[in-house]
Amino acid sequence: MTEFLLGSACAILVVVAVGLVRLLRGPGEADRMMAVQLLGTGSTAVMLIFGAVIRQPAVIDVALIVALLSAFAGLAFVRGISPNSGGGDE
């Protein structure tokens, strides 16, 4: 079982890594951010699987934090490109 879990974790990581091509190539800033969000989701999944392998339920809490704060980073990005963000910024 452990082997299967670790193997699938590796597979997820590899797939997500392929997605990072969008981070390197762009072309738009939104493309780059989406690749980052994908990595956030992927590493959450890998974490959860790994947590099951080492039998540490607290890993679920880490995954929770990553999920919540990757959404936050995404919003900080949206805030930047949103046309009605306004506010006298440079």
């Binding site: 800033e29 980052v36 809490d61 704060l69 506010g87």
Partner: protein, 310 residues
């Protein structure tokens, strides 16, 4: 098999770091940095540092990421920076490679078995009443560091405040933010914070006995508060606000008062009498939580008025 997973994560991590450092486009580097921060959380889980993983994911990925995105956006209009000269690049490559090589040599030369204070912590943890060894270290064995760290944060905030334009003192620093009240941002800023609040308090409460604690919780709460502010649903308080200032010093002052109580009860500053150790630790954490939340949120600089004063 674990080695495979470790290696895959580390290769990806190094690749991202290289991207952050070498990439030409600043925004792309910042995006890479956020991804790096999230992946770092995973690497820390692999190293079985669950508490550190939480902190790194929350502060490294989330808060620092948001800080950097905002900064990159505001610096876009600045005068372009001249690229490094060939000489500088050669120097930088040489120094970086030498540094990596000597550190790798040090890592390979470390003694076996490695020294550790783990057993010492295990032997003394009962006296603190908590079960999470990291909380025991942070709030009992090395509580001075934690106290000073709260002061570091406060000092950083004072430093950030000292950069405010004179005209805005002592009011609200920066431009109040607005957003379309029917937009997606305002929507999420209404939906996400309650969830974040629950998660934050859960992580806080769990911290005594399992991974978690005040720093991680405060980061989550601060992120939620920032979300509300950036959607225009709330404002940063003016710097002269009594409540704000009281909140900023409550944590360290409360910590010091508990420490002083230690002098009376155990004869040592920051000492914890065995019978009340856990309640006292929880008291310190409760005092620190609002302070840390306020400071972490206020450390993210709000947009300044352009050319505020001549």
């Amino acid at each position: 098999m674990t080695a495979w997973l470790d290696s895959a994560a580390l290769i990806l991590l190094i690749g991202l770091a290289a991207w952050v450092v070498l990439g030409r486009n600043t925004f792309a580097a910042v995006a890479g940095f956020i991804a790096y921060g999230m992946l770092l959380g995973l690497v820390w889980v692999e190293l079985q540092g669950i508490d550190v993983a939480m902190t790194e994911a929350a502060i490294g990925g989330g808060l620092t990421g948001a800080l950097m995105i905002g900064a990159a956006r505001r610096l876009k209009s600045a005068a372009p920076v001249a690229p490094a000269t060939a000489g500088t690049l050669v120097i930088a490559i040489g120094v970086g490679a030498a540094m990596a090589a000597i550190l790798a040599a040090c890592v390979l030369a470390l003694p076996n078995p490695a020294p550790s204070l783990a057993s010492l912590v295990a032997g003394n943890i009962a006296a603190t009443g908590v079960q999470n060894p990291i909380t025991a270290v942070l709030l009992a064995f090395r509580s001075m560091d934690t106290l000073l760290e709260a002061v570091v944060l406060l000092l950083a905030l004072i430093a950030v405040w000292s950069l405010a334009p004179d005209a805005e003192w002592p009011g609200r620093i920066g431009v109040p933010q607005t957003a379309n009240p029917n937009g997606i941002l305002a929507y999420i800023a209404r939906v996400l914070p309650p969830i974040g609040l629950v998660i934050g308090f859960y992580i806080f409460w769990a911290g005594a006995d399992q991974p978690g604690g005040k720093f991680q919780a405060a980061t989550i709460l601060a992120a939620m508060w920032l979300l509300i502010i950036s959607a225009g649903l709330g404002k940063t308080p003016p710097v002269s606000s009594r409540w704000l200032r009281a909140g900023l010093i409550a944590g360290p002052i409360g910590f010091i008062l508990v420490g002083a109580y230690g002098v009376a009860s155990t004869g040592a500053f920051l000492g914890l009498p065995a019978a009340y150790a856990k309640p006292l630790i929880v008291t310190i954490e409760i005092a620190l939580l609002p302070t840390l939340t306020l400071i972490l949120a206020l450390l993210i600089p709000p947009p300044l008025r352009k050319r505020a004063e001549a």
